[in-house]
């Protein structure tokens, strides 16, 4: 489980060595501010609330989705070989309205345009493709570049007006001439009407032909080319809704095995399913659950055990889950308990009553792996985010704040004082701002570059390059 070397069971020839192999916590990596995107003002319009962040497979593109249904894609500029002290900056590449608000009159249901998830397809040709989804509809977007345009038509003027054919005396062959780069986004497929409940996850299969979409009670399998049909592969809806005890909270395909996927529940369990076993995967192949001490059970136990995110490691050997207070790493070969547990903000356990009253206890934090699976990251409150180094067992708390925004300024670690005497530079639990939550973070697939979303701003941090 080292930072380098080949993991067992993983495709031959691939070695997980890389710049991301170093530790993320403690003294090994120094994180520096790189960029911040978004408005400075405190008055946040609801549409500007960031709802998802995702790097593409090469890390060159970074997509965000927001509550207003808009997608913004940033592109990393080519590294300047002369200015080698920093990696390329991310600049706006394309932006478009992915989803619009709808009203289902038949069911009296308001359908939010908020983008719940974005997932990139691996690049196969010059164009880029991504899937974006709101609560009900998934869309496949094609993002393509146009840097040439045809000129010299015989029947049209340059401005588009048609010429009088009788004035044409000679013929010419139109040619392509360079033009200013234009990036166009167009919806190529719309996958609609397959979900009664709210979609929380989409995940592209390693076969790059199919993908799954999961809502509270069902998971569907789609083919990327086919929009009028999808197969239901998981259905946990009880015959009598009064008996409902559990909902699906997240789902993901295994990165290498195209027949395997997992889904997590509001009761803190994860089920691994094999699509070869049967058409309807209601019976899991594996059930991952940590036994709970019944004497510790409280009103809050189930709520805080609800898993808000599940992510496979790049190697495919592990998966990570996020519940309200912790991050857990599971070995796919061991179902009865996680192999590692990291406390994100244990000091909140004695604040659960107020967190329930202000609804914060229902906040859904995501988590992510670094490229070599040696470090994991997740967000917290007060615009803090946490990293855990699996090798050194060190962890670090950093803050996304405009106060630290001089490029290449190393971020200072933060510490929360749970009780007792507060040391200088520590912040007490009661001073934490619970409106400043970092729910969405993403790690570049190869480099130590991270994207951290606060409510309406996107921060990009890099490790110190020297």
């Amino acid at each position: 489980m080292g930072g380098g070397g080949v993991y067992a069971g993983e495709p031959r020839g691939k070695a997980w060595v890389g710049r991301g192999g170093g530790a993320g916590g403690g003294n090994d990596i120094q994180w520096c501010f790189s960029q911040v995107k978004g408005a400075v003002d405190d008055d946040v319009a609801e549409a500007d609330i960031i709802s998802t962040v995702e790097f593409n497979h090469s890390g060159e593109l970074l997509a965000t989705g927001d509550k207003g249904g808009r997608v913004v894609i940033f592109q990393q500029e080519q590294e300047n070989k002369i200015q080698s002290h920093s990696r390329g900056e991310y600049n706006v590449y394309s932006t478009f309205q992915s989803h619009e608000p709808e009203f289902d009159y038949l069911k009296s249901l308001e359908i939010e345009e908020k983008i719940n998830k974005i997932r990139w397809l691996p690049q196969k040709n010059a164009a880029q493709f991504l899937l974006s989804t709101n609560d009900k509809t998934i869309k496949l977007w094609k993002i393509s570049e146009r840097d040439k345009r045809p000129e010299g038509y015989n029947l049209k003027e340059e401005d588009g007006r048609y010429r009088d054919p009788t004035t044409v005396t000679t013929l010419r062959v139109p040619v392509f001439r360079p033009m200013d780069l234009m990036v166009e986004a167009s919806p190529r497929r719309i996958f609609a009407n397959a979900h009664t409940y709210h979609i929380n996850s989409i995940s592209i299969n390693s076969d790059y032909e199919t993908y799954l979409s999961a809502d509270d009670l069902r998971i569907n399998l789609w083919h990327l080319e086919i929009t009028d049909r999808s197969f239901n592969i998981v259905d946990i809806k009880p015959a009598n809704m009064e008996e409902l005890t559990e909902v699906i909270t997240a789902a993901e395909f295994h990165p290498n095995s195209c027949n395997t996927f997992v889904y997590s529940s509001s009761k803190g369990t994860i089920r691994l399913c094999d699509m070869r076993a049967s058409a309807l995967c209601d019976r899991h192949s594996k059930l991952f659950e940590e036994p709970e001490d019944p004497s510790n059970r409280s009103f809050f136990s189930e709520i805080i055990s609800s898993i808000s995110d599940v992510k496979f490691s790049h190697s495919g050997r592990y998966m990570m889950t996020r519940d309200y207070l912790s991050v857990k790493i599971w070995d796919l070969n061991m179902e009865n308990r996680p192999v590692e547990t990291y406390q994100v903000h244990e000091y909140l356990r004695s604040k659960l009553c107020s967190l329930y009253e202000n609804d914060c206890i229902f906040d859904k934090f995501e988590c992510c792996w670094n490229g070599s699976d040696s470090v994991v990251m997740t967000g917290s409150y007060n615009n803090f985010f946490r990293m855990f180094d699996r090798n050194t067992k060190r962890d670090i708390t950093l803050e996304a704040s405009r106060e630290n925004n001089k490029p290449r300024t190393v971020l200072k670690p933060r510490k929360v004082c749970a009780s007792g005497k507060r040391k200088k530079d520590e912040i007490s639990v009661d001073s934490l701002d619970f409106n400043k939550k970092i729910l969405h973070t993403a790690w570049h697939p190869k480099e130590n570059i991270i994207a951290v979303a606060t409510t309406n701003n996107l921060y990009i941090f890099q490790d110190k390059v020297n």
Binding site: G69, E113, D135, E243, R349, C353
Partner: protein, 107 residues
């Protein structure tokens, strides 16, 4: 030690309550009826009902006719709870338009 002093055991238990149980006690003190409703989980049902907005034109017009000159009951501040008494009005259902403004992340 606890066999010799049985009272000590229960005293210690009270003091060493887990923080979670202490928070639970606080919550139950403020909301004594919490968790007593039958039939499945409240949280789950609320989650599944997100986005539900009821407007029945029949109810609305009948209520208007009954009330004559009086005011219709307006929406309670907590609009997530739809009860029989609350007659949504067209004003309660805001027009949903897409944001025509570009994202500030792109600005």
């Amino acid at each position: 030690l606890f066999n010799q002093f049985p009272n000590l055991a229960s005293e210690m238990e009270d003091k060493v309550t887990s923080p979670e149980k202490a928070e639970e006690a606080k919550l139950k003190a403020r909301y004594p009826h919490l968790g007593q409703k039958p039939g499945g989980s409240d949280f789950l049902r609320k989650r599944l009902q997100k986005g539900q907005k009821y407007f029945d034109s029949g109810d609305y017009n009948m209520a208007k006719a009954k009330m004559k000159n009086k005011q219709l009951p307006t929406a309670t501040p907590d609009k997530t709870e739809v009860t029989g008494d609350h007659i949504p009005t067209p004003q309660d259902l805001p027009q949903r338009k897409p944001s025509l403004v570009a994202s500030k992340l792109a600005g």
